[in-house]
Symmetry: C2
Subunit: 513 residues, 2 copies
């Protein structure tokens, strides 16, 4: 068999059965192999950042990697921003990049680029398969790397001759690389700190904000009087009834510093020491007080549940039921507000919904009003490269096998980065409800500009304003085969949400805010 | 003044007065400086590949670089595919990438990435300004590098503290870096070869396919019986009445080999030795016959006009009037065909039009039917990374000061890579007529797949077919503020073209092919 067939077969052997693709000429043998080997679901994205963002969303929900299929260095470049986000989210992706034939590369044909250098900027593992004989084994190694706990981007570069040459061999799955062993001293140290009774914060991130870790953190915190927060940079939070009413460290530097000021000790559970998204003149990079001591209970590559369980047992912490979030909110009425949207969402979302939140500035206050919603998963932009909300929603829907409603809370400016996602939602008839928050400006940047100390003048506003011409999202969605409607009140929005949740396919609500 | 103000002032001093931008938080001081320093035209693109593609199109027509403004490594990544294309087109761009403050970078905040490594994959010149004192001088050096003959991508990375700190100083323009000196031996050698009377081809690329070089090449060829072709990979060809009826080396490997088979000598004028866009099993990488001798008359960084003039004089070649292209075609009727579209274009295009051609497979035969059109400039995708047609058209319209009609012949699949360009066309009211060639598939890839030796099965077609759902370009354009209409016959297409050419702003024709 040729290298391409050995690749498809080896991916399947290692449990990878979904491929997000935007192929080109150098990948035609791979495409042919996908035709000839049954078992791989292929999903087309019309630009590569859609492809990589879908793979990210898929992993977050399915908890196993999908493959991508990209075309040469420039195709990889188009998908790099969402690979950057996936790297920050610690999502496992088998990122396959077709490339020039090995012997053709020296001729520097137009699409030739330094694919390897590009890949290294966003990948934890990079390998080029130069011979058909190696492709199967390299594919198995790539899946192993992508799955290495908690997940990472593994890029396999596939020159076209390695794909079309004969000599390929199917490789068996390689052993899983699980969490790194816990450090018993870290557990002892955290127990010592928490027994000391000083002002302590347990800061959760990574896998540490999923359900079981939350419950264990609560048990620990109740026993010791510690506080719990999620890191601002968190890809995936288990939320709603039956989970902890967590709040994140605020985005704004001043608010974050204020929120963390009282802590003498911060116990890091898969979290990094809190630092600002950006630096600002005269403000510190770090958000925790200078006197605070940081203690690593679990690194991101260690098992937070095991670490928190060991800590709870070390402290002799009794079982502690999670606090009740109170009654489910009712849908809001009147003019759209962030609080009204959050309450309406909590009132109407079906059980086991998935929220893909790229609401940026509008959505900073959504959490308190959605604690009492049915249990759901909330996905955040972890790498800061805008344009992940729509493709992550699309991939999450596929990762859930089309069985869970995905609600994409989507700022308009960010939506324009990856609007092609709508077409894939339409093609695959995915249960994704997109709520475009149409304020016709880069509102976060207007705030950041004012932080510089001035009101934007006409030149600045020409770069921060998305009006003139106004984006009409109902038309855009229609052009890509997704049914859509506009809402100017919360009643209209609620009606459209309820209608969308009753149907099978995608729907877009353009909410004028 | 702060670094940002010194940057804007220094760019203006060096003649850069247009900035294509998609800024973020780390660029807010630069945005503020743009507000405070008059003279810079700022044009917003809603995704970075639009920004970089516009800068490429601007340079090709204005023949001077614009600046870009991108946000951190991921923003650069989003714009890298069109920077790759610009690098291949040898377009001058001052590519400014804002980044984390120097002292904030070690904290590895979410948007932190290896911006320098990314930039090096697409730039000929990269520098990071780490101090406000250096920013002005670095800006002048970046413009000098971008302008170095014939043009290149110069990336200036600007950490936010270098932007906001005081101590900036305005730098004067640096001397231009003109063409490298001609090699008199290269001229003598080419003259010797051409006097020998063997089968010789003069192969033009780069600046060598502009008007004056064409006339000189014709004069040489007429004196010696040589043939002339343009390289397939050519960013910008002067075409229409008053220019040479050039044909390019064909795209297809077999056709290219056939077209070049008869030549014993190939004289390269800013052209590389012809090689395939891709390798194919059992076919050679090079497209010229093994016995052919290649002779470099002018490298891309040398002046082709001067080299061809020296050659003509060395040969004593008399002035030779260019052949008449015959009568201007009439607009076609009936069902759309490539020939019909080309003839209609030739019949209707205004004087001094600019064609941005990303028609891919549909447009391979456009040239013969447009030789007798009024004089125009024809811009091609030079780097093979699809998605340059629409932003290049947008930037070209700005590069021409809005005074020339731009006609974008645009394949549908490629259009989906950079459809956000329409919004900028709408905002700036640019005279761009987009003709979407809607065949609802990646037609080039279906051909490439068949080259693998098989008919695409359902899995393969799911990755090559753009139907289901059908893209509705009239709706998409309407959603972005560009007037649009659908044409199913050449008569309708001609009517819409004529109507669009009479008005000032953008228009989109969705041609069902």
């Amino acid at each position: 068999m040729n290298g391409a067939k050995s690749l498809v077969n080896s991916l399947l052997q290692s449990g990878v059965d979904t491929c997000f693709a935007n192929p080109g000429t150098s990948e035609m043998h791979f495409v042919a192999a996908l035709d000839q080997v049954p078992g791989m679901r292929c999903v087309l994205g019309l630009q590569e950042n859609i492809v990589t963002g879908m793979a990210d969303g898929y992993f977050r929900i399915a908890r196993k990697p999908a493959a991508t299929l990209l075309h040469c260095g420039p195709g990889l470049a188009n998908g790099m921003a969402n690979l950057h986000n996936a790297r920050r989210a610690r999502s496992g992706i088998v990122n396959i990049v077709g490339d020039q034939a090995t012997y053709h590369r020296p001729f520097d044909a137009p699409l030739t680029a330094d694919t390897d250098a590009m890949a290294r900027t966003v990948s934890s593992w990079v390998r080029t398969s130069t011979r058909a004989q190696d492709v199967g084994g390299d594919a198995a190694a790539a899946v192993q790397a992508a799955n290495a706990f908690p997940g990472q981007v593994a890029t396999l570069i596939l020159p076209s001759d390695a794909s079309w040459n004969e000599g390929g061999a199917v490789a068996a799955a390689l052993p899983a690389i699980g969490p790194a062993p816990l450090d018993p001293h870290a557990v002892d140290n955290a127990a010592r700190v928490l027994r000391g009774g000083k002002n302590a914060l347990i800061l959760l991130a990574g896998r540490g904000v999923l359900g079981a870790s939350q419950a264990l953190a609560w048990r620990v915190a109740q026993a010791c009087g510690a506080d719990i927060r999620a890191d601002y940079v968190t890809a995936h939070v288990a939320r709603g009834r039956g989970t902890l009413q967590l709040e994140r460290v605020p985005y704004g530097t001043d608010q974050a510093i204020a929120a963390l000021a009282r802590y003498d000790h911060i116990i890091l559970v898969c979290a990094k020491p809190p630092v600002g998204f950006f630096a600002y003149p005269g403000k510190p990079s770090t958000q925790y007080p200078a006197h605070a001591q940081l203690h690593v209970l679990a690194r991101p590559d260690q098992d937070p549940e095991a670490a928190l369980l060991a800590l709870a047992e070390s402290l002799g912490a009794p079982e502690a039921p999670l606090p009740d979030p109170g009654p489910r909110p009712e849908a809001a009425s009147g003019a759209p507000t962030p609080e009204g949207l959050a309450r309406t969402l909590a009132a109407l979302m079906p059980e086991q919904a998935i929220v893909s939140d790229e609401s940026i500035s509008y959505g900073r206050g959504f959490y308190p009003h959605t604690h009492a919603a049915p249990m759901h998963d909330w996905l955040h932009l972890a790498g800061g490269a805008i344009g992940d909300g729509m493709p992550v929603a699309t991939g999450a829907a596929l990762g859930a096998g089309g069985k869970r409603r995905v609600i994409n809370l989507q700022a308009d400016g960010s939506a324009m980065y990856s609007l092609q996602s709508l077409w894939t939602q339409g093609r695959e008839r995915l249960p994704v409800t997109t709520i475009i928050l149409n304020n016709r400006k880069y509102n976060i940047l207007i705030g950041e500009y004012q932080g510089v100390g001035a009101t934007p003048g006409p030149t600045a506003m020409s770069m921060l304003d998305l009006g003139n011409p106004d984006l009409k999202w109902v038309s855009i969605a229609d052009g890509m085969g997704v049914e859509a409607a506009r809402a100017t009140t919360m009643e209209q929005c609620a009606d459209l949400m309820a209608r969308s949740f009753r149907t099978d396919g995608p729907f877009l609500i353009e909410l004028m805010i």
